[in-house]
């Protein structure tokens, strides 16, 4: 028997994770999203004057982000712990699969699910936009950038959920992940606060401000809703930042999981 490649094993695990999410009806959230957005579009179309686009982009992208974060946290915390509890992991790890390949495969599977989910939601956002504005404009391309940043947020949230679940209970992992998402969304304010604080408090505030994921830099929803462009440099910085932050969280999860006894 040939031993099979590392990349293909990660791919098989990722595909199985994606298939599990789809069959567990995770994508059913799209129905709620579609109802919310179409209702909002119809309502906005009737009552507002000239701010239809602003409202639809704001509401649509915020919903994409929140729906995705909830999925990322609630599936992310169970990615590995569920497999340990249900002992499905035993028959996987008794094969030529390394533990880090399993963790990375699960991560890719969930982020893949979220990318598909976001893609389908993005179609909804653009349809709602077309409904209220009757045409697409050049500035709508920045909505795509905002959606890309939202996907980068999901990468970090998934990685963090996976990291916390590698040593904590699912409930505590969910609490930690959600708390970090909220704090990270206020990261810019936290950094501002750190700058004006002195002494030990200043040091602590600076450490926390730079340690928590900077989700506020990844949130350009309000900016693109007003039709303002997103600088190319920010796209590059955010991409590198999100990839590095996720890689660090995944590495932490792998390091802990490598040593764990699967009792």
């Amino acid at each position: 028997m040939n031993s099979g490649g590392m990349n293909s094993r990660i791919g098989y695990i990722a595909f199985n994770t994606f298939r599990e999410a789809v069959r567990d009806r995770v994508l059913y959230n799209l129905i709620a999203f579609a109802l919310l957005l179409s209702g909002a579009a119809i309502l906005v179309g009737e009552i507002s004057i000239d701010i239809e686009r602003l409202v639809v982009v704001n509401l649509g992208l915020t919903a994409v982000s929140l729906f995705g974060v909830v999925i990322a946290i609630f599936i992310g915390i169970g990615l590995v712990s569920k497999e340990i509890d249900k002992r499905t992991l035993y028959t996987v790890l008794s094969r030529p699969v390394r533990r880090w390949e399993f963790v990375v495969g699960k991560f890719f599977g969930l982020t893949g699910t979220l990318v598909v989910n976001t893609f389908l939601m993005a179609i909804g956002v653009f349809l709602a936009l077309l409904y209220v504005a009757h045409k697409f404009e050049k500035m709508d391309v920045w909505v795509l950038v905002a959606l890309y940043f939202i996907v980068l947020q999901f990468l970090i949230v998934c990685a963090l959920a996976l990291f916390f679940s590698s040593f904590s209970t699912p409930l505590m992992s969910a609490v930690f992940s959600f708390a970090l998402f909220v704090i990270g969304s206020l990261a810019e304010d936290l950094r501002g606060f750190a700058r004006i604080t002195h002494g030990v408090g200043g040091w602590v505030a600076t450490a926390i401000a730079y340690l928590v994921p900077n989700f506020s830099a990844l949130n350009v929803i309000s900016q693109v809703a007003h039709g303002d462009p997103v600088p190319g440099r920010l796209i590059l910085y955010n991409t590198v930042y999100a990839l590095l932050y996720s890689a660090m969280a995944i590495s932490g999860a792998v390091l802990i999981f490598q040593r764990r006894n699967l009792k």
Binding site: M1, R9, E20, Y90, S94, R95, P96, R98, N261
Partner: protein, 322 residues
């Protein structure tokens, strides 16, 4: 070459709120299983059978010691492509069908894409699941899941198969089928290491057995030798309505069943017993020496010896529980 060489493998967990108390799950275990052997690992629940298997599978890490599997270190990633494992009471991804699950495991085991589907179908047929192959595993009974478990363990044609309680949860027919499958694996030249607490299964299938209790290997022996050991007694079966008085005086333990009497008595009284039967004109049906059974060996090994008691008391003093 030895298929499995366990060299003083030991597992100790730290328990309690502060993780300060040590709990020995497996005392240093030294055991060798030869290639092509069917080895039964026997012991009551909680004896350390599953811990040993998990250590060999790399699911838990040893506190001390090591093991070699098929001539390679147990941590060597190449080992995993040559072994199959059925965990105790297996549970699989219930969103998949049996066919999808086996295909997935085939991919992870490196079964080449060409011929993988055929191999999956062959395994499904071998465990009698061809008709339910497309059904999601969430609808499977415990016995059906056990069959899927067996199929996934042998899917990639491993040289060595580890089965943890393969007969548990199966009805008599299912148990018979698993027995047949293990026999087939033996004929194919595979090495089978299986844990069980059902002695009749071990007696019927194994070349050798090891008895483990309270995390400690109490004895290892070949089934043929264990069950051929004479006990210094004979069993006589003859036609009679009641036990002859002459036989009772020879120290026989006898019971009447219909028109037959079954009597067990010391080997030295054989001639005297036959003389009683001849004198009373009773018809002899059989006379056989009484041999040890696996059950007797098992019970004997489960009783702690004085030395083991001392070791345990020493451990208790040090605060190491088992």
């Amino acid at each position: 070459m030895a298929a499995i060489e366990i060299l003083d493998l030991e597992k100790c967990y730290l328990v309690g709120f502060w993780r300060k108390r040590r709990k020995l799950a497996l005392r240093p275990l030294r055991l060798t299983i030869e290639e092509g052997e069917v080895f039964g690992f026997l012991g009551p629940n909680g004896a350390g059978k599953t811990t040993t298997l998990k250590l060999l599978m790399g699911l838990v890490f040893p506190t001390a010691g090591s093991a070699r599997i098929l001539g390679m270190d147990m941590d060597d990633p190449r080992v995993k492509s040559q072994i199959g494992f059925l965990p105790e009471q297996p549970y699989f991804y219930d969103h998949l069908s049996a066919r999808e699950l086996l295909n997935y495991f085939g991919q992870l085991s490196g079964v080449p894409a060409k011929g993988r589907s055929a191999r999956v179908e062959q395994m499904l047929a071998r465990v009698g699941l061809s008709d339910s192959a497309g059904m999601q595993l969430r609808k499977f009974s415990k016995g059906m899941l056990q069959r899927v478990g067996l199929a996934q363990a042998i899917l990639h044609d491993p040289k060595l198969v580890f089965l943890d309680e393969p007969m548990s949860g199966l009805d008599p027919m299912g148990r018979r089928e698993v027995r047949d499958l293990i026999q087939q694996l033996r004929h194919e030249g595979k090495t089978v290491f299986f844990s069980t607490h059902i002695l009749s299964d071990a007696e019927a299938l194994c070349d050798r057995v090891g008895i483990i209790h309270q995390g400690e290997l109490r004895g290892v022996g070949a089934i043929a030798e264990l069950t051929s050991e004479r006990q210094g007694k004979i069993e006589i079966i003859f036609h009679a309505q009641k036990v002859p008085a002459g036989l009772t005086s020879l120290g026989a333990e006898a019971r009447v069943s219909g028109d037959m009497v079954n009597a067990v008595l010391p080997e030295g009284q054989q001639d005297a017993a036959l003389e009683v039967l001849r004198r009373d004109g009773l018809k002899l049906i059989s006379l056989t020496p009484v041999r040890s059974s696996l059950e007797e060996y098992y019970i004997q090994k489960l009783r702690p010896t004085d030395v083991q008691r001392e070791v345990r008391q020493e451990d208790d003093r040090k605060g190491v529980g088992v």
